[in-house]
Symmetry: C2
Subunit: 507 residues, 2 copies
């Protein structure tokens, strides 16, 4: 069978999909091998296909270059083998900037060069909540500041999370208890059993629709491949099943340009996995993903060694964001503090900081040269907490985070790098980021200086603005900040805490 | 010459002083050796005397036991040798609890057993400001919550500190510049010279009068023996002068029961001293002090190794008070974070935190099992900043620190030790201190739980109170907190940040 698709147009970093009919006999998930080579001029990219149930096999491909692409399939199933064709990759649309990549060592940019200033949030299990709530979540996200969302493939068993998902990733053979027993380490999957030799395509079709929904909103999907909050047994599958699952997810999802791969949430709580397992998972994803989407792994207590070559950026859970600069220097990679506690009022300490503190932590992570993640965890009569299930935001930090995002998007494309706070420019230990001789952003946190001294070089001149991150105001200083080689210039400030000073070069 | 003082009464931990006339020829500071043995029953304590100028030699002694004490002097100056006598040590007065000692590994108590809950402040150079300001400082202290004050022997050269003291510890031979040149590392003592072979008794008479003034107010004097803020050369004396200075200070001051010895402030900024010098200073003070007053050393960046045996407690400069528990465990000694930034509005980051933040840091240090110090640094037209010169307090933290002191003084005598925050008692990671089965103090900082869960043992019952450290209110919970072996009890809280919960056992 030979198919020609040469009238098909796919925009750059869009998805080309080839659907093929084939035999459904036996166990196609195990038995059928299917790959395709996509060729553009001298480049050949090989991608894996996957079985999508009902005798349908699919191959997805994300072209990164305009022009005509040819493809050719290979399979051990005759009717899937040797299928050939072409499609045309056309210019990208207005809201498509391609996948996000590491940029300038410590930062991110879209593939088209547009800077990407990570402003994350967390809805771990939002795709497992049913249509009504999922649609509401998307509506909330449409008006929220977030350009990345952390979400799990597997359903979640945890405090406030007892409900069953509509679908499971594997066919369910027998159902067990849904009761939350105050543990989350995958111990009590009595009664539950699954056919781990097959996937449930309905689960993944639903999951990838939600990834596409986020793509349409311009939100990166930080897809969490494993996690410990489990009553079904998904955190304790054998190595063969783990690996097949990873390859299947990558084959289905890698062509979505907004995908990031997070090997795990709180990997260090998964007692049945070893460090060697995590290394292997990284390598499988690295080998299988033709597009080299971002890869990370998220800790509870102990950090994974983020300096390993397959890690693209550090994904961190910690409250002491003052360490961000140290982690940058340690790993020489972007640092994303995905969990620095959530705004909320639940009993758990990780989920009950104030909006003021959440905003403060976003600013702190920023001025130490990193990126921060948000979550919203308010007690709710139906246990609908944004952090796990989505729905609506109950906190007050989101508009302030939107304000910060606008400031970041208005900052130098090269990224905001820590200033030497003991330098003569910033005497007195103030904490700031910027690009020298161009742009400075200094944040004072709980400090309330009535004045500071700036030693800008002679001949340089800056517009100074006092930023109030909570009130969301930007107030220009009366006088420009003029460089002077002798003694510096005293800059009057309001003597109020939790303010920032922005300096933009005018001369 | 034999003197009998058997009609003299000295209260326990008061000062017995023997003044002797002798030759003033030559250099008595270098030439004359003078010691005395004080004997009570089987105990003999040897103390050093000192030359106080004008042919007057003194021996001071602090008796620790009631009853008749005999003494006998020894000297290489005939008229000072072999002086003998007695005095009677009587019961201590109402406001005298003796010197402060380490108690229960991590805490302090007065020698009479009264718990001492350290609430420190900082007036580094207050004794060098002249009578008017010094009297005002004492008046402020009379109404302030502080029971310890950090103060330097040597005058101070630093930002906001250009004024000359009335006296110097050594006779001044020539005067130099007083100008603050933006440095403080003892580089520019051009013009200044002193006769380091002699002390100026007037300087020390004045200094010890101020120590006595503090004693009368019930305030411990944390005497800083060296510091780097110097334009006179006192930070770069030779080893022989350093050692003689230490022995002289100890001989004069050790009999004051409120003395603590701080080897240095920011010892690690004193470029002319080595770690071996600091070890030697500790050993000299340890050998010379008959009463073994508390000994510590204060860092700027790098900690001294506080586990060395001559260090009685860790004196720390750091802002991350969450580490207090770690330092306790590391050193197995009391931890006093003497400098965690000061309340103020100066440009320097170490001197411009808000009152709210200062109060928060006091509470944070407390619930991690340590003790905290205060300072007040507001811009002042005459550069009178409390942290250096004393005067009056301009901040708003002191009343709140007084409130905390009352809470601490109403807490268990054994001290407040960190609770295992991952224990079943405090699920969810709350931070608290207490004594098990008796008293718990939990502080929430920027967290705002609307409820928490407490797993007190079955049969125990506690009065719960919500403490607002800023508003200084204590609000009893409506219901007692009742122990239960099954699932714990949910304690409703206001869902507001910067609150504490106190639980006191009632059954």
């Amino acid at each position: 069978m030979a198919v020609t698709n040469d009238t098909t147009n796919v925009e750059q970093w869009g998805i080309f999909e080839l659907a093929l009919q084939g035999s459904a006999e036996g166990n196609p998930f195990l038995d059928v091998e299917l790959t395709a080579q996509f060729t553009h001029k001298q480049r050949i990219i090989e991608v894996d296909g996957f079985y999508d149930g009902d005798g349908v096999y699919r191959i997805r491909f994300m072209p990164d270059t305009e022009g005509i692409w040819r493809y050719s399939t290979r399979s051990n199933l005759g009717e899937l083998n040797g299928v050939e064709g072409t499609f045309t990759c056309i210019a990208l649309g207005a809201d498509n900037h391609g996948p996000v990549r590491v940029f300038n060592t410590y930062h991110f940019a879209y593939a088209d060069g547009t800077p990407y200033k990570q402003i994350g949030t967390t809805c771990y299990a939002w795709v497992h909540q049913g249509k009504k709530l999922e649609v509401q979540t998307l509506e909330t996200l449409r008006n929220a500041p977030f350009n990345k969302l952390r979400m799990c493939v597997f359903p979640k068993h945890y405090a406030f999370n007892e409900n069953e998902p509509e679908h499971y990733p594997f066919p369910c053979l027998s159902r067990g208890s849904s009761k939350w027993a105050g543990s989350w380490q995958g111990d009590q999957n009595e009664g539950w059993s699954f056919d781990f030799s097959r996937f449930d395509p309905a689960f993944f079709q639903h999951f990838e629709r939600r990834v596409a929904d986020l793509m349409a909103l311009g939100i990166e999907a930080d897809i969490i491949l494993f996690h410990p909050y489990d009553r079904w047994g998904f955190s304790r599958m054998d190595a063969e099943t783990d690996d097949r699952y990873l390859r299947y997810v990558v084959a289905r999802l890698a062509a979505y340009r907004n995908v990031w791969w997070s090997m795990a949430n709180e990997y260090d709580l998964m007692r049945s996995k070893t460090l060697a397992d995590w290394d292997r998972f990284f390598r499988i994803v690295q080998e299988s993903d033709p597009y080299q989407h971002l890869r990370s792994i998220h800790n509870c207590f102990e950090f994974y060694d983020h300096s390993k070559p397959w890690v693209t950026h550090a994904s961190i859970q910690r409250s002491d964001l003052e360490q961000t600069r140290t982690w940058r220097e340690q790993y020489k990679k972007p640092v994303v503090v995905d969990e620095c506690c959530y705004e909320g009022n639940i009993p758990q300490m990780w989920g009950n900081i104030t909006a003021q503190e959440m905003v403060h932590r976003f600013w702190t992570g920023t001025v130490y040269g990193g990126y921060v993640g948000h979550g919203d965890t308010f007690l709710h009569p139906q246990d609908i907490l944004w952090w796990a299930k989505g729905g609506v935001l109950h906190g007050q930090s989101a508009p302030r985070i939107a304000f910060l995002r606008r400031i970041l998007e208005d900052s130098p494309a090269a990224g905001l790098d820590p200033l030497d706070h003991m330098s003569s420019f910033l005497r007195f230990g103030h904490i700031g980021v910027g690009q020298s001789h161009d742009y400075y952003l200094i944040y004072f946190g709980p400090h309330q200086p009535a004045q500071i001294k700036i030693n800008a070089p002679e001949g340089e001149q800056y517009n100074g603005e006092v930023i109030d991150p909570w009130e969301m105001t930007i107030t220009p200083l009366k006088e420009p900040i003029v460089g002077s080689d002798i003694g510096g210039i005293t800059v009057p400030l309001p003597g109020k805490s939790y303010l920032a000073l922005r300096m933009r070069r005018i001369r």
